[in-house]
């Protein structure tokens, strides 16, 4: 039971971080299918930092990891500016822009990884090694039966993401900025009439989504893959989109959706282990989160409502 909770949460938190990024973008009215590319581009920048400056730190220090996280946040935000530029300034179709950003991210990061590895480090490889982040137990709390597992073997990035999510929630629902951002997604003309720059708000929202996706991406790189390579593009970004739509574009329900994905995933693996099935059966179990989502959507999506101006290019002159 403990491993289910531990693994489930360590998958859930990065996913949630990416999904909340998506919520920022979509609530401001910009459809964001680019999450997959944003998380990869962000993680790539973080990994680059480690590749270039990791040697300056002592072997056992975890400081490079925190610097890498910061670099990923910046990298994700900067790369997201491309999506912002295309969608907000260049009036591109937002879904298409998202797909293009994904294709370009996969291509550029794998190309540059190889190019930098062979050009700068004289080591032809398609990976940047990062290693797995250390884990810790919260003293005291981790001794609680069953629920204590929540505080056991915690990755530091989970704590960072938790803090970030709480701030993100506060900013979106309790500040003037957040209210304006949400209004941009529902009624941009009203926001404009109130004297706020719709395009700037949306651009900022897309950048925030890039920053959060980058943080989620580097967290995946430091836990599940232990390196940066093309293997980071396994569809976590698309899963995050599903989670946020499932969560009805609200942060709290999205937490539930991500928790469901995380636990269904780790629970599935555990189930395969318990039943002592051959490992190929784990593939069948892996569909569990997606089947559950589809079934739940069938029952609950009647009330699902996207932000009203989602996907529309803001045109001042249009009524």
């Amino acid at each position: 039971m403990d491993t289910v909770i531990i693994d489930g949460l360590s998958f859930m938190m990065p996913l949630l971080c990416i999904a909340v990024g998506g919520i920022y973008s979509e609530r401001s009215g910009v459809t964001n299918l680019a999450l997959e590319g944003l998380l990869g581009a962000g993680a790539f920048v973080g990994a680059l930092f480690v590749a270039f400056f990791g040697k300056l730190f002592p072997e056992t220090s975890s400081a490079p990891m925190y610097f890498a996280m910061a670099a990923s946040v910046v990298g994700g935000a900067v790369y997201a500016m491309l999506h912002g530029l295309l969608c907000v300034k260049f009036r591109a179709n937002q879904v298409i822009s998202g797909v293009v950003i994904n294709i370009l991210a996969v291509a550029l990061t794998t190309f540059l990884t190889r190019e930098i590895n062979s050009g700068v480090f004289q080591a032809p490889s398609d990976k940047i090694q990062l290693g797995v982040s250390p884990r810790f137990d919260v003293p005291g709390l981790s001794k609680i039966p069953v629920l204590g597992a929540v505080f056991k073997s915690v990755y530091p990035f989970q704590v960072v993401i938790l803090v970030v999510i709480i701030i993100a929630w506060y900013a979106l629902y309790r500040t003037r900025f957040g209210m304006r951002l949400r209004a941009c997604g529902d009624n941009p003309h009203a926001v404009d009439a109130a004297g706020i720059n719709v395009q700037r708000t949306r651009f900022l929202a897309v950048m925030i989504s890039g920053a959060l996706s980058g943080l989620g991406g580097i967290s995946f790189a430091y836990s599940f893959s232990a390196n940066f390579s093309a293997s980071i593009y396994v569809g976590a970004g698309y899963l995050a989109i599903a989670a946020l739509i499932f969560g009805n574009w609200k942060i709290v329900p999205t937490v539930g959706a991500c928790l469901l994905f995380g636990l269904a995933r780790s629970g599935g693996y555990k189930l395969v282990q318990l039943l002592a099935l051959p490992s190929s059966y784990s593939d069948l179990i892996m569909i569990l989160p997606y089947v559950v989502t589809l079934l739940l959507l069938i029952f609950f999506s009647g009330t699902n409502r996207a932000p009203r101006a989602l996907g529309e290019i803001y045109d001042k002159g249009k009524r």
Binding site: L33, L82, L86, K89, F90, R91, A92, N93, V95, I96, S97, V99, V100, N102, I103, L104, V106, A107, L108, T110, F111, R114, E115, G235, Y238, L239, I241, A242, I245, F246, S280, Y281, D283, L284, M286, I287, Y290, V291, T293, L294, L297, I298, S301, G302, N304, A306
Partner: protein, 373 residues
């Protein structure tokens, strides 16, 4: 009237009116992206002209320096056509959904489903070619139509966003089919599904034509025909008009008496059928086996290819040729020029990036034209 430089005026003139822009804007986007790619090539110290020549040679549009026996520019071109076929179908699949205001991001999943069913039902049978091949195509159409139709139905009946349901269904196909391949149909050496029999393969391989031994993708004719058929359907038939009306403005369409729900299901079924064709052309044509637990990138690239072709079936045809040529030519280019193979994806990405800005270019040009009047 604002003063403009001579160059800008010439550019605006060159773009032409709305009709001409459908052609000039994508061409401009391609030129811009090739320029960007050239800068990238220069930055890593390669000669861009030689690189583009190598790219075209690899795709079979220009002769290479030397060929091994039985190979030639003709065989390269045939391989390119073989890999072009699924891209054309997939781009059509995206286009028809897009015309109805839907995004079929599940093309790759529908391709996999159709390819797998056709492989299992026909690919290992002893049927003669003249029965097996039509059967493969029919199964592809039917399987794709079902997989696509379900997404349309989920949207119509349960208000489930088609993007989410397609993503979920993509995963489900990927894992379930991967499971069956790995447990029942796996080739122990390659770890792919077992190769299908020759009679079922839509692209006969090793055909002797003149002095060449080549793949012979007749099916590309079907893909081109499908493009024109879809163009006719969308522009000249009542059903096609209704479908476009739903895409343009669902409320207005409903007010005019068009059944919106039925058209959503119809569009997704059609889109799925085309994706199914792409699937059999890919898994039982270009390849002869399926890699378990992986979706092909064709379905995702097709979304952007369809846009590059202005969401027009015929435009999509040309866009498919361009993107496929870059992809096919990259292997030869990377060995001839000693650059990483991934550069082809970067070039494709750049082409798609610039084409996504097409609407903006059009906007600028039209504004300039208005002001000049």
């Amino acid at each position: 009237m604002k003063k403009r430089s001579r160059v800008t005026r010439l550019l605006v003139r060159a773009f032409g009116d709305e009709r001409r822009q459908a052609f000039t804007v994508p061409v401009f986007a391609v030129v811009m992206s090739l320029a960007a790619a050239a800068i990238l090539l220069l930055a890593i110290g390669k000669n861009p002209v030689a690189a583009f020549r190598a790219l075209l040679s690899g795709a079979g549009f220009l002769p290479k320096g030397s060929y091994s026996s039985g190979k030639g520019i003709f065989t390269d071109l045939m391989t390119t056509l073989s890999s072009l076929t699924p891209m054309i179908f997939a781009a059509l699949a995206v286009t028809v959904a897009f015309k109805a205001g839907l995004f079929n991001i599940g093309v790759s999943g529908q391709m996999l489903f159709a390819g797998f069913l056709a492989t299992v039902l026909v690919g290992y049978s002893a049927l003669p070619g003249y029965i097996a091949r039509p059967l493969v195509i029919l199964i592809g159409i039917a399987a794709g139509a079902i997989a696509g139709g379900v997404i349309g139905l989920l949207k119509y009946r349960f208000n489930i966003n088609e993007v989410v349901s397609s993503i979920m269904i993509n995963y489900i196909f990927q894992y379930v089919i991967g499971f069956f391949i790995l447990t029942k149909f796996v080739d122990p050496v390659t770890r792919h599904s077992k190769a299908i029999v020759k009679a079922a393969r839509l692209v006969p391989s090793g055909v002797q034509i003149g002095r060449y031994k080549t793949d012979f993708p007749v099916i590309v004719v079907l893909a081109v025909a499908a493009s024109f058929a879809l163009k006719f359907f969308l522009d000249r038939t009542r059903a096609g008009f209704e479908l476009r009306a739903v895409g343009a403005h669902p409320k207005a369409a409903q007010y005019a008496g068009v059944k919106v729900g039925r058209n959503i299901v119809l569009a997704m079924t059609l889109s799925g059928a085309l994706a199914g064709l792409a699937g059999v052309a890919y898994y039982l044509g270009y390849y002869d086996s399926i890699t378990p637990k992986a979706l092909s990138s064709v379905g995702f690239d097709a979304i952007a290819v369809s846009l590059l072709g202005n969401s027009n079936p015929i435009g999509g045809l040309f866009a498919s040729i361009l993107v496929t040529a870059v992809d096919r030519g990259s292997t030869y280019m990377s060995s001839a020029m000693n650059v990483q193979r991934e550069i082809s994806q970067v070039i494709t990405g750049l082409i798609l990036l610039f084409s996504a800005c097409g609407a903006f270019i059009r906007h600028l040009v039209n504004r300039a034209r208005e002001e000049d009047k």
